[in-house]
C-alpha cells in the first residue's frame, strides 16, 4: 500500500493523464482551427467561376469544385463552421434545460421530481426525428429554428442522466451528514451537487454536440434547416446528391468525411473530459 502510494502521489498528473490531456488539447485545437479557417473561407465559398465547373480534386482545388465552379474546400470549411456554431448553440441551450430540470427535481423532490420524470418520458416517447422536423417546420426554418428545434429535442436523455446522478448524491450518507451538521439545501446544492454534476454536465454537453451537428445536417439535407444559400454541410450533401450519378463523388465524400472527423474529434474531447474531471481517475 505504501509502495503504491509513493508511486502514485508524486505524479498526480501521471503519464496516462498527461496523454489524455494531450489528446483533448489536440482535438480541441483542430476543431477550433476549423472554426477559425471557416471565417476567411466564407467569401471563397460563394465565389462562382463558370470556367472551373465540376472539376475533380486537384492541386488548385483540393476538394474539387461544384456545378457553379465554387471551391469545395472553402465551402466545406464554411459549412463546418456554420455546423459547429449551430451545434454549440443547440448543445448549450439543451444542456442548460437539462441541468435546470435535474437540479430542481433533485433539490425539491416530491411533485417536482415526478413532473420532471413525466416530462422526460413524454419527450423520449415521441420519435426524435419526427419531432425535430415538426418543430423546425413550425418555427419557420432558418438557422434560429434549427438551433431551437435541436435544443428542444435533445435535453431529455441528459436530464435523465443528471437527475439520476443528482438523486444518488442527495440520498447519500455524506449529504445526510451535511444536513446533520446544520447545512441547508442551498449549501448542499452548491458544495456537494455542483461538483458531482459538473463532470457529467460538461461531458453530456460535449457529447450532445455531435448529435446536434448531425441533426442540423439532417434537417438541412431535408430542406428544413438553414437557408439553402448558406453552405452548411447538410446543404452541401443535399446538393451533391444530384451529381453523384454523374461521377462527381468529391462533392459528397469529402465534406461528409470532414464532418465525420470533426464529430469524432468532439466525441474524443467529451469522453476524455470525464476522466480528467474525476479526482479518483488518477487511480487508473
Amino acid at each position: 500500500m505504501t509502495a503504491v502510494r509513493e508511486v502514485v502521489a508524486p505524479t498526480w498528473f501521471g503519464d496516462r493523464r498527461r496523454r489524455t490531456l494531450a489528446w483533448v488539447g489536440l482535438s480541441a485545437l483542430v476543431v477550433l482551427g476549423v472554426v477559425v479557417a471557416g471565417g476567411p473561407a466564407a467569401d471563397a465559398a460563394q465565389t462562382t467561376s463558370l470556367t472551373d465547373r465540376n472539376l475533380g480534386p486537384s492541386a488548385a482545388h483540393w476538394f474539387g469544385t461544384d456545378r457553379l465552379g465554387r471551391d469545395m474546400l472553402a465551402r466545406t470549411l464554411a459549412g463546418l463552421r456554420l455546423s459547429l456554431v449551430v451545434g454549440v448553440a443547440a448543445a448549450v441551450v439543451s444542456a442548460g434545460i437539462a441541468l435546470t430540470l435535474a437540479c430542481l427535481a433533485a433539490v425539491f423532490g416530491g411533485v417536482v421530481d415526478r413532473a420532471v420524470g413525466w416530462l422526460v418520458d413524454l419527450f423520449l416517447a415521441l420519435p426524435h426525428l419526427v419531432l425535430l422536423i415538426l418543430l423546425a417546420f413550425a418555427l419557420g426554418g432558418g438557422t434560429g429554428a434549427v438551433v431551437a428545434a435541436v435544443a428542444l429535442t435533445h435535453w431529455p436523455t441528459l436530464t435523465r442522466v443528471l437527475r439520476g446522478r443528482a438523486r444518488e448524491v442527495m440520498s447519500s450518507d455524506y449529504v445526510a451528514i451535511s444536513r446533520q451538521l446544520g447545512h441547508g439545501r442551498g449549501w448542499i446544492a452548491r458544495r456537494h451537487l455542483a461538483g458531482h454534476l459538473a463532470g457529467h454536465f460538461v461531458v453530456g454537453t460535449v457529447l450532445l454536440f455531435p448529435h446536434a451537428i448531425l441533426h442540423e445536417a439532417a434537417l438541412s439535407f431535408l430542406g428544413l434547416g438553414v437557408d439553402p444559400g448558406e453552405p452548411s454541410i447538410g446543404i452541401l450533401l443535399a446538393e451533391s446528391m444530384r451529381y453523384l450519378t454523374a461521377g462527381a463523388w468529391w462533392l459528397a465524400v469529402l465534406p461528409g468525411l470532414c464532418l465525420l472527423v470533426v464529430v469524432k474529434l468532439v466525441d474524443t474531447i467529451g469522453s476524455n473530459a470525464r476522466a480528467l474531471l474525476d479526482p479518483r481517475s488518477h487511480h487508473l
Partner: protein, 210 residues
C-alpha cells in the same frame, strides 16, 4: 439524557415496522452498548436518534428537549461504519473537517492521533480505512455533539486498529462528557468499551402500534 420514547419507524406506508415501540436512554457522559443481530434495525435506530430519519410515532428528546436540526449542528452526531460513504469523494480531508464549521486553527489543533497532519490534503480514497475512520470520528467530535452514536465503527478494521479507535473515542468523549451509544453485533467488544450493554431484540414481523 438522549432518550427514545416509544419510537415506531418504517421506511414507507406499505412497509413493515422496523422499530416497534423502542425505549432507550443514554445519560450524559455515559457509554451504552447496543448489541443485536444484523438486519435487526439497530442502525435505523441510530439514524432516528441522530435525526437522519423522523420517527413515525413516539419521540426522541435530547436533554428533555426536541433537538432543533436547522442551521446549527445536531446535538447527536452519527459515526457510520463505512467512512468512505460518509464523505464526499470529491473533498479532501481538510474540506470534510471544515464542513463542520471549524476553522483552520481548530483543524490544526486536532489530536494528531485522530488526524495525521500530512493526510489533511489527501482525498478519502487515498488514505487507509483506519485513518479514514478516525477522520470520520474527528469530524463528529468537531461538531461538538452532546451525544455520539457509533454505528459499527470498527466492524471493518483489524483488532489493533479497533483498539486504537475505541481508545481515542472513549478518551475524547470522557473529556467532553459526551454520551455514547455504541452499536455493534460484537458482544465482547461492547462489554469492554461500554458501561452497560443493552440487548436488542428485532421487532416481530407483523407488529402494529396500538
Amino acid at each position: 439524557m438522549l432518550q427514545a420514547d416509544g419510537v415506531w419507524f418504517r421506511h414507507g406506508r406499505d412497509r413493515p415496522w422496523v422499530l416497534a415501540g423502542v425505549d432507550l436512554a443514554v445519560g450524559a457522559g455515559e457509554v451504552i452498548g447496543l448489541c443485536g443481530p444484523s438486519g435487526g434495525g439497530k442502525s435505523t435506530l441510530g439514524r432516528v436518534l441522530a435525526g437522519h430519519l423522523r420517527p413515525d410515532r413516539g419521540r426522541v428528546t435530547v436533554d428533555d428537549a426536541a433537538p432543533r436540526p436547522r442551521r446549527a449542528a445536531h446535538p447527536v452526531q452519527l459515526v457510520l461504519q463505512q467512512p468512505e460513504r460518509a464523505m464526499d469523494p470529491r473533498w479532501t480531508v481538510r474540506q470534510v473537517l471544515a464542513a463542520t464549521g471549524a476553522d483552520d486553527a481548530a483543524i490544526a489543533a486536532l489530536d494528531q492521533r485522530l488526524v495525521v497532519p500530512s493526510r489533511l490534503d489527501r482525498f478519502p480514497h487515498e488514505i487507509s480505512g483506519g485513518e479514514l475512520q478516525r477522520v470520520n470520528l474527528a469530524r463528529a467530535l468537531l461538531a461538538r455533539p452532546r451525544y455520539l452514536v457509533a454505528d459499527e465503527i470498527s466492524a471493518s478494521l483489524d483488532a489493533v486498529t479497533q483498539a486504537r479507535i475505541w481508545t481515542l473515542l472513549l478518551e475524547h468523549c470522557r473529556e467532553a462528557a459526551i454520551g455514547v451509544l455504541a452499536i455493534s453485533h460484537d458482544r465482547p467488544l461492547l462489554e469492554t468499551v461500554a458501561g452497560s450493554v443493552v440487548d436488542w431484540t428485532p421487532s416481530p414481523v407483523g407488529e402494529t402500534p396500538a
